[in-house]
Structure formats: C-alpha cells, structure tokens
C-alpha cells in the first residue's frame, strides 16, 4: 500500500497557513451549523470570492472545513434546543432533545461529537484508500464514458432530491441552459447572450450561486421568520456513562459504514444518510419503543452517518469530476476557477491539493471535537444573535463579493436578478441543487456528447457498445424508474416524516 500520498498530505495540511484556515473553516462551519437558516451551501457561495486570494489547496481546506463543520454545529442545536441547524440534524432532534430534557444533554453531545470524530477518521481512511483506485480505473475513460457518467450523476441527484421528479429534471435542464450561455467553444457562436457584451464569457457560476442561494435564501428567511426559543438546559456533565458508550458502539459503526458508502453515491448526501441510519437503528434495536424517548442510538448512528457522508462525498467530485450534490458542485466550480479541472488526473497533476485536502479533513475533525465540547455554551449563545443583524451582512457580502470577481457592477445587477430568480424557484418548490449540478456539468456534457458523436460517426449506439458507458446508463435508467415508482416515493416521504 502506497502511503506516500498520506505523508505528503500531512506535510501540506500541517503548514501553519493551512492549519489556520482549517481552524477558520471548521469554526465558521460550526457557527453556521448552529444557526438555523444559514447552511453550508449559502455560506460557501457567499464566501467564495473571499477565498480566491488564497492558494487553491488552502481555499479548499477552508471550504471543506465549513462543510463538515456544519454538521457538528447542527447537532449541537438539535440536541439542546430541538432546532436542527442543518437538514442532516433533523433526525438528531428526535432523541437528542429528549435526552436533553432528561438532563442528559452532556452525554448526548459527547456521543454525537465522538461518534462524528470516529466516522470522520474512518471516512478519511476510506477516501485515502478508495479514491486512488477509483481514479486509476477512471483513467481509461473517454468521451462516451464521461458523458454517461455525467448523465448518471445528474440522474442520481434528481432521483434522490426531494420534490417532484419532473421538477428536478426541469431544474437540471434549466441549469444546463444557463451553462450554455456564452460563447460556444467549437464554433465561436454567441449563445443566449441576447446582445449583452458582458455575457459573452458566460455566466460566472459563483454569481449564480450567490444569487440563487445567498440572496434568495435571505428573502425567504425574511418571509418566514423563525422564532427561536433558547431553552436553558444546564450541561452538567459531559461524560457519557459506561452504558451510554456500550450502547453507542454498534450504532456508530453502522452509521459510519452507511454514511461512508452513501456519501460516495452522487445524489445521496448527509441528510439521507442520517435518516436511513435512524431507520436502521430503530429496526435493529432490541427495544424499538425507546426511540423517540431519548434513545442514545438515535443520536449516535445518524450523527456518525452524516459526518462520514459529508467527507466521502468529496470522492466522486475529486476523482471523477462528478459532483454528487449542490455543495459539491460549488466546490468543483471553485476548483475550476482556479484552473484545476477535477477528474482522474487531479491526483497525479495536483497531488498536494488532493492529499492535503484529505489530511486536513482528519485534522479538522480533531479540531472540531476539541472545539465543540468545551465551547458548547458559547455556541448556544450564538443562537440569540437576531437574524435582523445577520442578513444585511449576508447581502453586503454577496454584493461586494460578486463585484470583486471581475470588478464589474454589471455582475452586481445580474446577481440581484438571480436573487429574484432563486426566490421564484423556492416559491414554486423547485429543488435548487439540480440546477447547480446541471450548470456545472452541462457544458462538459455537451462537449463529450459532441466528441462521442464525432468518434462514432453519428452512431448513437456508441454509448451502448462500450461496457462501462452502458453499465452507467442502465444504472441511470434503473434509478429513474425507481424514483418514479410511487411506492418508493411514499417510502421516502415516510422516511422524512419519521
């Protein structure tokens, strides 16, 4: 087993600059994880312009820290205040809050943090072992395989996203069309520029992300203000009892395994992992009636699952260039702005970025465990920051940030427009992640489709003749059918309401 990558990774991750930004990232991530209404997707969108001054690996380390840090913060408020800071913490509310009411908030928080740390460590190992293997096998990919892989990625994302399937597919197509805006690489034709000179280079995805996620989110939050009740639960003792630990071992192990695997699949994410983990724990338990009344397995399993998934979801993004979720699409977009095209070659052409990122994930997890437990009281105080002080800051950050991309005030107006666009999407109940995925993958899909067609002299069967491509397309069709079957959808809805 070639461990040189891991050594390289740690040598990079332990550089003072990267350590600092890792700390910044996970702290910020915990902070926004604690605050309901502000999630990793929004935060990363808004902060992207700020990270552009940093070297690429440092920026990725910080952004990744925000991403998996948020799941730690989300569990804190889920347990203490029954408010999920993140959608992946919804399940933790069920038993976690009950435990807090029984004066067992300390053990719940401790188990959540420790379970997450274990899961994060294992997931880091999974990435280190699995990713090179995946990248190797992907080196033989050519245009048809890439095209089919992207189709699979988009299909998985739509199949597993909430909301109507037709709307998800619609969003993907809208996203692809937005990606088409600009100059066609092959022919030089201006497409969808409507005579506007500033659009000839295409839409900046950061701009779109900030508008659709940042601004729209602000408008929606202003529409539905959530009243936060901060209940004072005294955290007496952080130490879990021996029995707590004993009962948590298997849920943590199961959750870690589940999350690690589900995270790799494009489309499945932290939220689904936590839901499925809860369902499994309940089904496997000797006394399922304890669930909902403060069963520690209901905290240990889901928290481990969502953290493992948060990290392994980097695998398809980094090794194949297929982002599995909206946030991963953001990360990938950020990489592309740096001129690093994610794909099988990333490991060999930018090993310091790849391995440095992986090593920093483990370090970040360590920081989080050390940070979170003692500072729990501080995080809860954060909840009392009123939204009316936060949202102007978000708006200003977006406005200034988008300007700095190209020193263009036109971009500012354009982003405002996308804010309204994103608001409409939310009002009409369109899932936003497929839009971003389509936007990031669309142009590449077209490129690969064109090349494949030229390779095959117009024979569409090329996608079906090559075994890998065929396999992926079959999988995509199966997933689409499964997602459309009403029974599966009802099951998912039931899972979500559990």
């Amino acid at each position: 087993m070639d461990l040189s990558g891991i050594f390289l990774g740690f040598s990079i991750a332990l550089l003072p600059l990267n350590l600092f930004y890792c700390l910044v990232g996970v702290t910020l991530g915990t902070f926004i994880g604690v605050l309901p209404g502000l999630g990793p997707l929004v935060t990363i969108s808004v902060l992207l312009p700020i990270t552009f001054g940093l070297p690429p690996e440092t920026a990725m380390i910080a952004l990744a820290g925000i991403y998996y840090g948020a799941s730690y913060g989300g569990s804190t408020t889920a347990i203490l205040v029954n408010i999920p800071g993140e959608s992946s913490s919804v399940v933790t509310c069920i038993d976690g809050y009950k435990m807090a009411l029984q004066n067992r908030a300390g053990p719940a928080l401790a188990i959540a943090a420790l379970g997450s740390f274990f899961a994060g460590s294992v997931a880091t190992l999974v990435i280190a072992l699995f990713a090179p293997f995946l990248a190797q096998s992907a080196l033989s990919f050519q245009s048809p395989e890439y095209f089919s892989l992207m189709v699979l990625g988009l299909v998985t994302a739509t199949a597993l996203s909430d909301g109507a399937l037709s709307k998800s597919i619609g969003m993907v197509i809208v996203g692809i069309l937005l990606g088409v805006v600009g100059t066609d690489v092959t022919s030089g034709t201006f497409r969808f520029t409507f005579g506007v000179a500033q659009l000839t280079d295409g839409l900046s995805f950061v701009l779109v992300a900030m508008g659709v996620f940042g601004l729209a989110e602000v408008i929606i939050s202003l529409e539905n203000p959530t009243t936060r009740v901060v209940m004072k639960t005294k955290i007496r003792d952080l130490m879990p009892s021996r029995q707590d630990i004993r009962m948590s071992i298997w849920p943590v192990l199961r959750g870690t395994g589940l999350g690690s695997i589900l995270g790799i699949l494009p489309g499945a994410g932290t939220t689904i992992s936590s839901f499925i983990s809860y369902a499994i724990e309940k089904r496997v338990s000797r006394d399922p009636s304890r669930f909902g009344k403060g069963a520690i397995e209901g905290v240990a399993g889901p928290e481990s699952a969502n953290n493992a998934a948060a990290q392994t979801s980097f695998i398809p993004t980094l090794t194949l260039g297929i982002p599995g979720s909206g946030t991963m699409a953001l990360m990938m977009g950020a990489l592309m702005v740096y001129g690093i095209a994610p794909g099988p070659r990333v490991m060999t052409s930018h090993p310091d970025l790849f391995w440095g990122l992986i090593a920093s994930m483990w370090i970040g997890n360590l920081m989080l465990v050390i940070l979170n437990l003692p500072l729990v009281g501080l995080w809860v105080k954060m909840l009392s920051v009123p939204y009316r002080l936060l949202f102007p800051a978000i708006i200003v950050l977006c406005a200034v940030g988008v300007f700095t991309l190209a020193s263009s005030t036109f971009d500012v107006y354009l982003m405002a427009g996308f804010g309204v666009f994103g608001y409409i999407l939310k009002k009409l109940d369109f899932p936003p992640a497929p839009l971003l995925l389509g936007f990031v993958l669309g142009p590449m899909m077209e490129e690969n489709l064109r090349r494949s067609m030229m390779l095959s002299r117009g024979d569409i069967a090329i996608f079906l003749e090559r075994p890998i491509s065929l396999g992926m397309l079959i999988l995509a069709v199966v997933l689409l059918v499964l997602a459309a079957v009403p029974a599966v959808r009802a099951r998912r809805a039931a899972l979500e309401s559990e």
Partner: protein, 151 residues
C-alpha cells in the same frame, strides 16, 4: 379559492415552459448541424424543446388535478428591498466609494423587514461599512473604490 395563478404547480409548469420557449425561440437562429457534427444550436434546441414539453406536461397535470396547492404569500417588501439594496450597491460603488455604498445598502436592507430601529440600523451600517472595507480593500488587497470620486 385557488385560481390558475395561485396554483403552485400550474405556475411551476408555466415557468419551465416559458424558459424552454424562450430558449427555443433564441436557439433556432444557431446552426443546428447534424448528429455527426453538432452545431451550436443542437444541444440548446433539444434541451429547450424538452423543457417546454416538461413544463407543458406539468401545467396540464396541474389543470386536471383535483388537489391544488396554493402558492405561499409573497412578501413583496422583502423581495423588493433586498433586490434594491443589492442594486443600489452597484449604482453607488464607483461614484461614492465602498464605505458609502455599503452603508446605504445596509440601510436599504434593514427596510426589508417591518419595524425599523434607527439607532441599530445606523450602528449596523457603520460596522458593516468599516469591516467590509477593511476586509476587502485592505486585508485582501482587492482593488475596490473606497472613497467617493470627488475626494
């Protein structure tokens, strides 16, 4: 009473169909090409057409569906003020510099909610304009006008 224009699903379909329609109308000008040599118009036309079909489908199902979902109430104040606060930033940045622009933006933003607290808004404007200027213009060293043009 849920009319066509309150029906969330109908509007969703309409939204998609409109985008698809605009895409088709625009993309038909581009060279279509053939399967072997796809022109710039191939992908956009096919996708726009697909989108139009999906949108139309959703609209039809919405009309036929007995159960309708009403669209949530729109807080026009929030929509307008948030959008306006971003736009005003773009308008003011070059002539007035960042400090002024951020201040005005945060004041506009504060108006997005009901109930204004003048002292708090003023303080927030001050804090935001100074921190943002320090962060972007100085700490990150980006070229962004800080002071008004006539200074």
């Amino acid at each position: 009473m849920i009319s066509r224009f309150n029906d969330r699903e109908f509007l969703s379909g309409l939204f998609l169909a409109l985008i698809g329609g605009i895409g088709l109308v625009e993309a038909r000008h581009y060279t279509f090409g053939s399967a072997i040599r796809m022109g710039p118009g191939y992908f956009p036309v096919v996708l726009s057409g697909l989108l139009l079909a999906i949108g139309a489908g959703i609209m039809i199902i919405a009309i036929l569906n007995f159960e309708k979902t009403k669209i949530g109430a729109v807080n026009m104040r929030a929509v307008v003020m948030v959008t306006l606060s971003v736009v005003i930033f773009g308008v003011l940045l070059r002539p007035a510099g960042m400090i002024a622009a951020v201040s005005v933006t945060s004041v506009f933003a504060a108006f997005a909610q009901s109930g204004i607290r003048p002292l708090e808004t003023a303080a927030l404007a001050l804090v935001l304009s100074t921190t943002m200027t320090l962060l972007f213009a100085f700490a990150l060293g980006l070229s962004i006008p800080v002071w008004p043009q006539w200074i």
